[in-house]
């Protein structure tokens, strides 16, 4: 009686080979994301608790910096600080812009502008300074440099913005890809609904000299830009394409799973369920301390607002 030949092991081997090839293809596709994740990792001891379960609200501190030759590497001022709270179930988001010149206690460093916290102690100190002063829990942070933002916007094909009034600045810093970090040039972003590439979107979000509302107007424009980026119909398959553009221009404590979830969530948030808060007077007032122009917080009115928006 002859034994019937069995093909099962060979078929299994072939199937395994195809599955492995497919996984390698997916892995190769997402390789830039893994590389960014590897370079962005922050030791767990320096960062507060990991993010809670995906259905629970979470708060992320968004940091934007000048990353030019005026500063030592990774010792930048944060020109932009936005506290973002996302409620995945209610599909509500709140953005709170923190004035860069806000005069606050910086743990271990006395009192200073809040923008210097990152310079003094990196993202950990920036998060702690915001958390302590605003009495909020912050789950994670994302830091992005100027070139990173420009690359991100270019990679998504530009953004649509409604420019509310002409943004004109005769002293706009020419500090990207330049030998002189103190050079400047003129900017004119004309009003109306426009499609902006990365460089012009950055000009719009960064300029402040020609607007009497100074940093407050800039904060509004930065929030506008974030919303415009959100409109870019990103999905998980976009992540490698975007990650390859950053090359050290983004740092985050957010894990890949959470990043993928954030990208997926972005498209589900509409205009009405995104609250935007800018700390204009009476929440703040302008002053001069030690020869510096600073913004003084009025905590009795700020904290109730923050506790309501970031419970």
């Amino acid at each position: 009686m002859s034994r019937k030949p069995t093909y099962l092991p060979r078929v299994s081997l072939v199937i395994a080979g195809f599955v492995l090839a497919g996984l390698l293809g997916v892995g190769a596709y997402f390789l830039p994301v893994f590389e960014v994740a590897a370079t962005s990792a922050v030791s767990s001891g320096s960062i507060p608790d990991p993010l809670p379960a995906s259905t629970q609200p979470f708060t992320v501190l968004l940091l934007g910096s000048d990353d030019d030759a005026k500063f030592a590497p990774d010792r930048y001022n944060t020109q932009s600080m936005i506290l973002l709270r996302v409620d995945p179930v209610a599909k509500q988001a709140t953005m709170l812009s923190i004035p860069r010149d806000l005069w606050v206690p910086i743990p271990g460093h006395g009192t200073g502008k809040i923008s210097t916290a990152y310079q003094l102690g990196g993202p950990t100190l920036a998060m702690k300074t915001v958390a302590d002063n605003f009495q909020v829990h912050i789950d994670d942070y994302v830091w992005i440099g100027l070139s990173g933002l420009v690359n991100l916007i270019d990679r998504i094909g530009g953004v649509d913005i409604v420019v509310t009034n002409p943004v004109l600045d005769d002293y706009y810093p020419s500090d990207i890809n330049t030998r002189d970090p103190y050079a400047y040039y003129r900017v004119a972003v004309l009003p109306g609904a426009v499609h902006l590439d990365g460089v012009h979107a950055l000009q719009y979000a960064r300029s402040r000299h020609g607007d009497i509302r100074g940093d407050f107007a800039r904060s509004e424009r930065q929030q506008q830009l974030l919303l415009a980026i959100k409109d870019a119909h990103l999905n998980a398959a976009d992540l490698p394409f975007l990650a390859s553009a950053f090359s050290g221009e983004i740092k985050s404590s957010i894990g890949l799973d959470r990043l993928r979830q954030l990208v997926g969530l972005a498209g589900q948030f509409g205009g009405p369920n995104i609250s935007r808060v800018v700390l204009v007077p009476p929440y703040t007032s302008e002053a001069q301390i030690a020869g510096q122009d600073v913004v003084l917080p009025s905590w009795p009115v700020i904290l109730p607002l923050v506790h309501k928006s970031f419970p």
Binding site: V14, G17, F18, L20, A21, G22, L24, G25, V26, A28, Y29, F30, R155, I156, G157, G158, V159, D160, V162, T164, N165, P166, V167, L168, D169, D170, Y171, Y184, Y185, R186, A188, L190, P191, G192, A193, V194, H195, H209, G210, D211, I212, R213, F216, A217, E220, Q224, L227, A228, D231, A232, H233, L234, N235, A237, D238, P240, F241, L242, G271, V280
Partner: protein, 338 residues
């Protein structure tokens, strides 16, 4: 031998499967918009239009585009009353100048000279428009504030269309630190333009203003809360099209209202397009249609659209005229002929 061939074929198949998976992942990307060089439109448009894209001016006739200037910062063309000439802006890094062009795009004269060696001493000149009789050109220009070098506000000036003449006339005095007055539209009854203001709550508003003469007080035709701008007037002067954002930062509706420029009043506005970002409306030569720029999808570059105007007395849906182009939405289309 047969086994070897089969094994090799399977290995090749696996490799191809891996590459295919990689490629398929890329095709799932949701972002990125295509912008082509203008060649043809989706539908034919009567008359002739001039539009700007990527620093060049294009002429659209029927369904065919023709590039009439090189990609050298050209934008914001406007036609002379007889349609034989254009004025347009040529924008550089720190300054912008106004030129007179032939209808074929050939430079005939430069009307301003705004370049300077010192960065902050350069000037901008935007939004040129011929006066109704063609003798003057109106434009927005940043005259400097000697007491505060950070202040840069555009004001509206006029100058003779004759390149040999040199004297300019200041028409408006903008609200300080708002960016200034833009979009001059000279009419027989005066000057129509957009003015910006900042209220007590730090909110920016735009209004359409009418001003009888240089330095005159002027009248706001629209309330601050409507945030209207970019006005265009029908050839018979009966309707005004504009873009209004109604206090929103992500809205730009196309609104049309009957208007009486003699009394400086407008009637009840009608929203023709909402829920889209609309820019730069322009009436057709016969006043029956309005051309405007708007993205075909959220976050995308701006395409050319048309919609019936109230003068046509028939409601119509907007018609998308182009796709996969990327027009400069700060440059209103010029629409000549019927």
């Amino acid at each position: 031998m047969k086994k070897t061939v089969v094994s090799a074929a399977l290995v090749v198949g696996m490799l191809l499967f891996g590459v295919g998976t990689y490629t398929a992942m890329g095709s799932l990307r949701g972002s990125g918009a295509r912008v082509d060089h203008p060649a043809s439109s989706l539908v034919s448009v009567h008359g002739t239009l001039y539009l700007a894209q990527g620093g060049a001016i294009y002429r659209l006739h029927g369904t065919s585009f023709k590039q009439i200037t090189p990609e050298e910062g050209w934008t914001q063309p406007a036609a002379s009353p007889d349609g034989s000439h254009l004025v347009a802006v040529k924008r550089s890094l720190n300054f912008a100048d106004i030129y007179v062009l032939g209808a074929d795009g050939q430079v005939q004269a430069r009307l301003t000279n705004n370049i300077s060696r010192r960065v902050e001493a350069n000037h901008w000149a935007f939004y040129p428009r011929f006066s109704p009789d063609g003798s003057a050109v109106f434009f927005s220009y940043d005259s400097k504030d000697p007491s505060n070098t950070y202040r840069v506000d555009l004001a509206i000036f006029s100058r003779p269309a004759d390149p040999a003449a040199a004297q300019s006339t200041a028409w408006t005095q903008p609200n300080p630190y708002t960016g200034g007055d833009v979009g001059p539209l000279p009419l027989r009854q005066g000057l129509l333009f957009t003015r910006y203001s900042i209220d007590a709550h730090s909110q920016v508003h735009s209004q359409v203003w009418l001003q009888a003469g240089p330095g005159a007080a002027g009248t706001a035709l629209t309330p601050p809360a409507d945030d209207c701008a970019q006005a265009a007037v029908s050839p018979d002067g009966r309707f005004m099209a504009m873009v209004c954002r109604h206090g929103q930062l992500r809205a730009a509706d196309l609104v049309v209202a009957p208007v009486d420029m003699t009394s400086g009043s407008i009637g009840a506005p009608v929203t023709l397009v909402s829920g889209r970002l609309v820019a730069a409306p322009t009436f057709s030569g016969d006043g029956m249609e309005i051309a405007y720029l708007s993205p075909a999808s959220a976050g995308g570059p701006f395409q050319l659209w048309t919609v019936g105007s109230p003068a046509a007395r028939k409601a119509g849906s907007p018609v998308q005229v182009t796709q996969n182009l990327g027009f400069d939405s700060t440059s209103a289309p010029v629409w000549l002929g019927t």
